[in-house]
Symmetry: C2
Subunit: 369 residues, 2 copies
Amino acid sequence: MADTRIAGIYGMRYGIEGMLKDELVDLRRQPAGTWSRLLHTPSAALGSCRYKLQEGDPERAIELLRRYNIHYLLYIGGNDSADTAHRLALAAQEQGYELQAISIPKTIDNDLPFTDHCPGYGSAARFIALATMDSSMNTKSIPWHYPVKVIETMGRDSGWLAASSALGKRDDDDPPHIILLPEKPFNTDHFLKQVEAVYRRMGYVIIVAAETIRDEQGKALGAAGQVGQDAFQHPLLSGAAQFLVELVIQRLKLRARFDKPGDLQRMASNSISATDRDEAYLVGQMGVQALLGGESDKMVTLVRHVDPNYYCTTGLVELARVANEQRLMPGEYLDADTMVTQAFFDYALPLIGDPLPHHAKLEKIRVEL
Amino acid sequence: MADTRIAGIYGMRYGIEGMLKDELVDLRRQPAGTWSRLLHTPSAALGSCRYKLQEGDPERAIELLRRYNIHYLLYIGGNDSADTAHRLALAAQEQGYELQAISIPKTIDNDLPFTDHCPGYGSAARFIALATMDSSMNTKSIPWHYPVKVIETMGRDSGWLAASSALGKRDDDDPPHIILLPEKPFNTDHFLKQVEAVYRRMGYVIIVAAETIRDEQGKALGAAGQVGQDAFQHPLLSGAAQFLVELVIQRLKLRARFDKPGDLQRMASNSISATDRDEAYLVGQMGVQALLGGESDKMVTLVRHVDPNYYCTTGLVELARVANEQRLMPGEYLDADTMVTQAFFDYALPLIGDPLPHHAKLEKIRVEL
């Protein structure tokens, strides 16, 4: 950092929630090796929060920034973080405190508007694509054992992550066979018909379901399953995958089970997309440049180019336009049924880094006597 | 294969179950690229079965072997597979058919006796160790959000896989904090006391539980949770992790959730231990050599050497001694409470290949004004 205006580099433990508790970390005084290790460490190492600013918080934050003589703020995260950065920028303005606040996009949910995609998504999408390829091998190795498998993904209200499970598909028969996205209301009868059709054709069915899928009344499938009780007579927390497994067992009399990679999909340090890592660095770098260039109250965006190969540059967008807006999957990425289109492959494949492996398939070539 | 006694190399789709259906695959006539791809393909690509030989099956199998003029048999798998190979060897002897049957060890459960360890375990252990390190980062990034996390592992009646979650631990505070193994009966009060103690000290608790843990009456924890009902008034399939999560929520009033990597732990193609892969090749190679050397009715074993570095050679053991015997974790690997000993680290670390990464930890060094 050559710019002499930057005297210290501080980190916010637990984001704004930590800052409001006066917990700033001196990033210049970290042990040797910290920065090189960060290259293969989930960004969670920086701390996180799920904190919505309360009345009085912005003023308190400005007071703290003033005490530490902080005039540049880079705030990393998704929609809520963009909102926080925006509100801090506004509060500084109101109080006549000189603050430049820039939001750095980062969410595996990939649901920020105005940016081609969000850092974090490429690596999580790589994990989900590979997990679907790998985990399905077990079902294929002995289909009659548990012919139906459900893999549950995260992704908030958008299907970007669930859709990425298709990225290892090289032909129609490859898993997944059914993808359930929050963008499309779940219909029980249609789902069961599909499962049955795939089962008849293939002998097994791989389903990927976003944890947030909802029925036609807008009710979360996991919640719909919560009429059950556990050993303590409390409602069991049934997730979407568990609900679907139960549905298949009861209605189709097929053995079914689920995988729920959970936090691993956003943390797997051996599924990092090199493209994603480079772009995460790029948006941080351009955030610093934007600050030094006098920008504030904006989010860095990724701008895609294809000429002929994929690469990204960055742009800036007003935070007032970003905050709390979700970008769902556009119609052109969804086919009429429960699969994604070629347009989605074109969009997502460059983001996940190195090409996915081809798994060996033994051809069923019978021995001739 | 230079030996002229080997005229063809056939593969059994779906193991003995496939063979009894006369489904042998000609391994010489596979498409180009198949063998190099196998290096990063889960071995499930070879097919699998869960089939116990029924009356008449061994005779039928010998009949088929005779038809194809097969006199060498390598049968890959765990305890049940060793039993199958043994019974085929006996049946051949009874019927005066010249058959040499050798069992090749392969099970992520690592529960075969007489071998130092089982191919497959090193890679699955690597996955579990890394998954525990990675997935815990999320909890650590915002401990008060879900302070208790349970990660459920496979491993049949043995705790080898659950124990491997400790391999990324560099100090006592690193996750996991509690490991629940099938070798130790589960005691609710003791467990809750432990969770509470770790929570008070750390602010969060990472628990790894084998899916097969049982209470002091020998009842599976998952089954104990099955008094609940789902939307169809059928018992909900509650696993060990879900049971523990419910227990923590109800009794300690702490927010808790679980990850269930499921099949991914035995299939993750990006968590392959190079040592494990080399040894899988070695036991196959030595199986062929044993056949050519006239051996039969034996299993290939891995024999550990440390002088000063770890490496393995192979041995052979009578299948009659192996079949259906499970090797649980020995007492010296278990400490008095719910952690593993240094002896277990010494045993398992060489098996998982490259050293596990060190994740960056930001030091909480406060900014000085």
